[in-house]
Amino acid sequence: MIRVRQLIKSFGWPRIIIALFLLSLFIIAPMVGVKVSSSLSDTIARFGMNGIMVLAMVPMVHSGCGLNFGLPLGIIAGLLGGTLSIQFGFLGGSSFIMAVLLTTPFAVLFGFGYGKLLNKVKGGEMMIATYVGFSSVAFMCMMWLLLPYTSPTMVWGYTGSGLRTTISTEGFYLHVLNDFLKVQIGENFSFPTGMMLFFALMAFIVWAFLHTKTGTAMTAVGSNPVFARASGINIDRTRTLSVIMSTWLGAIGILVYQQSFGFIQLYMGPFYMALPAVSAILIGGASVNKATITNVVVGTFLFQGILTMTPSVMNSLIHTDMSEVIRIVVSNGMILYALTRKSEATR
């Protein structure tokens, strides 16, 4: 009994409620005529799309920089890489590889500056990260208009300059990961093996990194800065490194998202993308200063599951689409819950 209670405590009530809610949605679904197989397939696809962006939270949480509300900055690096790859005329699978390669220098550069900034504002990272995200999105809105892109698939047709708000990835890297070794079971269920493998690869890289010497130093900086300094770790450098990693993961995350979604969303598109990722990892059991790969996997699955299931089930159950409201309440409620908990200084 005590063990059960401890298990519940370690899992946390909010998570249990959300998991039960999702479970009940899956149970109700067939009764109201929603196909479970296609819902499950959607959930998995969305998991793959969003997983890496959720993963982007992990390094910064580990080094004590808090939740990466500045994810839009990484996303912008990804957008730059993606658009440049198309601009240079790469097609198919090679365009995705080029996008990843072109993205990397931007992500490192942005992450470096962002990390330096966050080192100056220790203690107030999350609020400033939020606004760094917002202002960089707004700044890039101007840039998308001004940068000298010329590819006719991307610029406005009638003026010949300035990028469109949404750019199709068809013919470029649309579904390059989704369709790689795709497993189709029945009519409604498909498993995007390539995308899941890619996610697994990224998750493994992060996991392996956190077990290297630098990785453990990062964890030390986050959990006990005084001890870390005493043992000769350069705190600022470690933090900057974690921010660079988070930014890069965010950039790769958006590329994976785009290849599955089919569109590159520019301008105000990345504006609020941090919040779903933040709440996903929190639903998975992370807190402001503690996050694991398991949290990412569990959280993304639960969050995306709710996102996929509520609209269809709600619609057929009460003929009203309240999913929007449920999503807002659940995701922000989760963030609030995490923010208000006494942060455990040691673990």
Binding site: L117, G123, G124, V132, A138, L145, I328, L339
Partner: protein
């Protein structure tokens, strides 16, 4: 010996840095105004309109800053309460000043409750009040949508077909507040140099300013400042810290509700699902443009901020069009500047907090060497 010996250069940069944001904005406006091609008369009229429209909301931010809780991103809660009040009076067909007063009366308990809740939550998240209040705004927005989009007309009786969506419940995206439009502004509008000045609205804002000045001097106001300075010291002095913090948020939320009603009577149209979310961000940006910081803001900052921020806002699309040939660019520019200014202010606040600590250290060290020299 309390004055730190510093070189003239250091001092100059400190003063410059203190006023960096207003100076930057003055520069932007100075460049933008001639390029926009607007007449001074037009700009003057716009600025007067926006001062009367937005000041009340911005002043609502001052109380939590006094209590050391930073910028109250949770002012959206008050705005929502104000909007609910307006929806009810529109449905009941109450117009004019009585309608405004009734909307305010209706909004008060809602604001007070939401503010109390917000204060409770913020007490659980000391040290990260701003990000928490920001998320509270989103969270309550979800509940607001639940009530307004699904509850109203279904559970809460709303009968006017002009308000309800064709499907039978939920409020429409835009609500026409025609019976309320400019009812306060037009009571006593005078012409000065060809500009129409809504004197009555300005009197209301002046009264609020007087209230704020008076409030600072009351026992409660003093307590808040003490809490804002140092929570532990205040607690040792017998001040109920948690209670004081909650009260400051409640006052701010209620004032924000009134401010929203004042704002919307000037606009005349309620954007049911948007108005409240945008207003928080823009009020905060305006206050910061006026030279306020996260821990210090006065009435002067409010009016300077409204003027400069909105001048920039009016001017930039046309200036963008005339300078680069794209009005869209100017529109993005002003969004960027709004967010950028908040970012800069937040960064400066954190940096300054650390530097002040260092300054105190230097001051101590200097005192010690002074003592040695005297010996």
């Amino acid at each position: 010996m309390n004055v730190l010996k510093e070189t003239r250069g250091e001092k100059f940069f400190r003063v410059l840095e203190k006023n960096a944001v207003p100076i930057l904005f003055l520069a932007i406006c100075a460049i933008g105004i001639p390029f926009s091609g607007y007449s001074l008369n037009y700009l003057g009229q716009e600025v007067i309109t926006r001062i009367s429209r937005n000041s009340f909301l911005i002043i609502a931010l001052l109380v939590p800053i006094m209590a050391g809780m930073g910028l109250n991103f949770g002012m959206t809660l008050g705005a929502m309460a104000g909007q609910i009040g307006l929806i009810f009076i529109t449905d009941w067909g109450i117009g004019g000043i009585p309608g405004m007063v009734l909307a305010m009366i209706l909004s008060t308990p809602i604001s007070a409750f939401l503010g109390w809740m917000c204060g409770k939550i913020l007490n659980m998240a000391k040290g990260r009040e701003m990000v928490t209040s920001y998320i509270i705004g989103f969270f309550i927005n979800g509940l607001y949508q639940l009530i307004v989009l699904y509850g109203m007309g279904a559970v809460i009786p709303i009968k006017s077909p002009a308000l309800i969506l064709p499907r039978g419940y939920g409020i429409r995206n835009t609500v026409n507040l025609i019976s309320l439009r400019k009812s306060l502004d037009n009571i006593w509008a005078i012409k000065v140099f060809g500009l129409s000045v809504p004197v009555m609205t300005l009197i209301v804002i002046a009264l609020l300013c007087v209230f704020i000045v008076w409030f600072r001097k009351t026992k409660l106001g003093q307590d808040m400042r003490a809490v804002g300075q140092d929570m532990e010291v205040a607690r040792a002095a017998g001040i109920k810290v948690e209670h004081t913090r909650i009260v400051s948020i409640v006052i701010s939320t209620i004032l924000a509700g009134y401010g929203m009603i004042l704002y919307l009577q000037n606009i005349g149209t309620l954007n049911t699902y948007n108005s409240h979310m945008q207003i928080g961000m823009f009020s905060i940006a305006a206050l910061l443009v006026g030279g306020a910081t996260v821990n210090r803001a006065g009435i002067g900052n409010v009016f300077l901020g409204v003027t400069l921020f909105h001048l920039m806002f009016i001017v930039s699309p046309m200036a963008g069009k005339n300078l680069i040939g794209q009005a869209q660019l100017g529109e993005y520019f002003r969004v960027f500047v709004s967010y950028g200014v908040i970012t800069i202010a937040l960064v400066l606040y954190e940096v300054r907090k650390r530097r002040d600590k260092a300054r105190v250290g230097r001051l101590l060290a200097q005192d010690q060497t002074d003592v040695k020299e005297v010996k």
